[in-house]
């Protein structure tokens, strides 16, 4: 278990500043998730930690040691790539054992460690296949096996599940969480899927334009987002955000989550026309047009099915409103 500490880390590609002063402490054994919109620098930040990109300024410490200028292989990290990056010409066995064979470990040791990793990931029966004979989920497991077998201090994942279908993604999410618990290693995970972020993370780092917007546990970010950006990014369907004056508040931005709005006829705060209804079974997501505010999304019970064009009254739950200065 190792900590990762970034201080004032910057990265520019030519004239473009991609990472603009990141300070971050990741505790030993933590599962840390980087989220943010596309192009905000998540992958770049991860690649800086991996050593695949050179920092323009600032320092990276892993386990207390300054590794800013160290080779990737000397940092004690392992990385799982979005498109798996398995060596196509090698069998699963050789893919997993590649790093060990480069390090010239004895044959017997390589064999034992590869088989232990394969066992843990239920890959034993596939060891002699080539990557192209595997399904997407199996390839992803091999890529994870290749990381495990190196026994790294820190695991790095760059959107590892984004090429899988929804059902498999849900399953792999659970497997990865189990793996994290079992290994107890520090893991850094990049995703733009906020379900992955909410369900797996001990700590979420929200990035925006190369800067950290907020750091905290999933629940902290959900309950007390520091900015409208974070508020809009965490939670699904996303938070309704309005100009403070339009709702008669003194703050700059006013936000209320769809699940914190209730439909009521008793002195409602707003009234809106139903524009669209999404019935998800467990709940119903209702899109309304509210005069002067525009769109408002409400999450209601699954048995609600208001006709399109009807008028509904809406009130916020007390204590659940967000006011951003």
């Amino acid at each position: 278990m190792s900590s990762v500490v970034l201080s004032d880390l910057c990265k520019s590609f030519g004239a473009i500043d991609v990472i603009r002063g990141v300070d971050l402490v990741i505790e030993p054994g933590e599962f840390c998730v980087f989220v943010g919109p596309s192009g905000c620098g998540k992958s770049t930040l991860l690649r800086l930690i991996a050593g695949l990109e050179e920092a323009t300024s600032g320092t990276i410490r892993i386990d207390g040691k300054d590794v800013t200028d160290a080779e990737p292989s000397a940092r004690g990290i392992a990385m799982v790539f979005q498109n798996y990056a398995l060596y196509p010409h090698l069998t699963v066995r050789d893919n997993i054992g590649f790093g060990l064979s480069l390090a010239r470990r004895p044959k017997a040791e390589i064999r034992a460690r590869v088989e232990a990793a394969a066992e843990a990931l239920q890959l034993t029966h596939l060891l002699d296949r080539k990557p192209k004979e595997l399904s997407g989920g199996q390839r992803q497991r091999v890529a994870i096996g290749r990381a495990i077998v190196r026994d790294p201090k820190v695991f790095l994942f760059d959107e590892p599940l984004s090429n899988l279908d929804a059902a498999l993604r849900a399953q792999m999410r659970i497997e990865l969480s189990d793996l994290h618990r079992k290994l107890g290693a520090t893991m850094i995970y990049v995703t733009h899927d906020q379900v992955e972020a909410m369900t797996m993370a001990d700590k979420i780092v929200v990035l925006n334009g190369g800067r950290i917007e907020q750091v905290g546990s999933p629940i902290t970010l959900y309950d007390t987002p520091a900015s409208p950006f974070v508020a809009g990014f965490i939670g699904s369907p996303r938070m309704n955000l309005y100009d403070g004056r339009a709702v008669g508040e003194s703050c700059a931005t006013y936000g209320i989550r769809p699940e914190h709005l209730k439909l009521t006829d008793m002195a409602p705060r707003w009234r809106g026309t139903v524009r669209h209804v999404e019935r998800l079974g467990a709940d119903t997501v209702i899109h309304l047009d509210v005069p002067d505010l525009g769109d408002m999304v409400v999450r209601a019970d699954g048995d609600r099915n208001p006709p399109i064009g009807s008028m509904l009254g809406i009130s916020p739950l007390p204590g659940r409103e967000h006011r951003f200065p």
Binding site: S73, A78, A85, Y87, G99, L102
Partner: protein, 257 residues
Amino acid sequence: MIFILPFVYILLMAVKTKQEAALFLFAWPSEWRAWENLVEVVQTRNYMLLLAYFNSTVITLGAVTLLVIFGAMVGYVLQRRRSPWNRVVYVFLLIGLMVPPAVVPTIWVLQNLGLFKTIHGMILIQVAYGLSFAVLLYRSFIASIPRALDEAAIIDGARPWQVFFRVILPLLKPVTVTLIVVQSVAIFNDFTNPLYYLPGRENVTVQLTLFNFQSQFQSQYNLLFMNILLVTIPPLLVFVFCNRQIVAGMTSGGVKG
């Protein structure tokens, strides 16, 4: 059929007697003299043909090996590294591909280097002539190999040369096979370059034996055709054995992860 007919003709001529061959007819030989003709051709001028085979093989093997290794390495560096020198190198490669070589200055350079009339000089000449093509071929193929593969290997602890030899080079096999076939046939069959750069009796190559023998075998066309037959066989074998891989190499788009 059109490809086979000349071969059949050569074959038939090669096994005829001297008198029959002189008629140049596309006819069945009355007498099969395959073995006698073969022995006679091989023994001509002190086993010159065997020496020629040896020389040609050495030149072909040496040049093709160097072409594969240098072509793949230069192509790799050119494709993966972003540097202002890339453009310069690229322009030189295109020049190398387009501008015809000047013979006399080349000979002059070779003489100054002490490489004129030597086998390794000839190898270097063939490498120089083929390198542009090899590099461009490799470069475009390497572009289809995802960079994440290099990065995965680097994280696994591979040094740059290990990334190349253990990950990239094995993936280049389809191009390599194509290159080996095309270049080895071309170099083995090359006539003019050995003629210019490799004069001397002890340096004959297979194609030059034809030239040398032509005068000697003036009235013995059966022997000349036997010689042609022997010269044609090695490239033919290469094509027959590698045919499928060549097609695979030319059509395969690259590597999927």
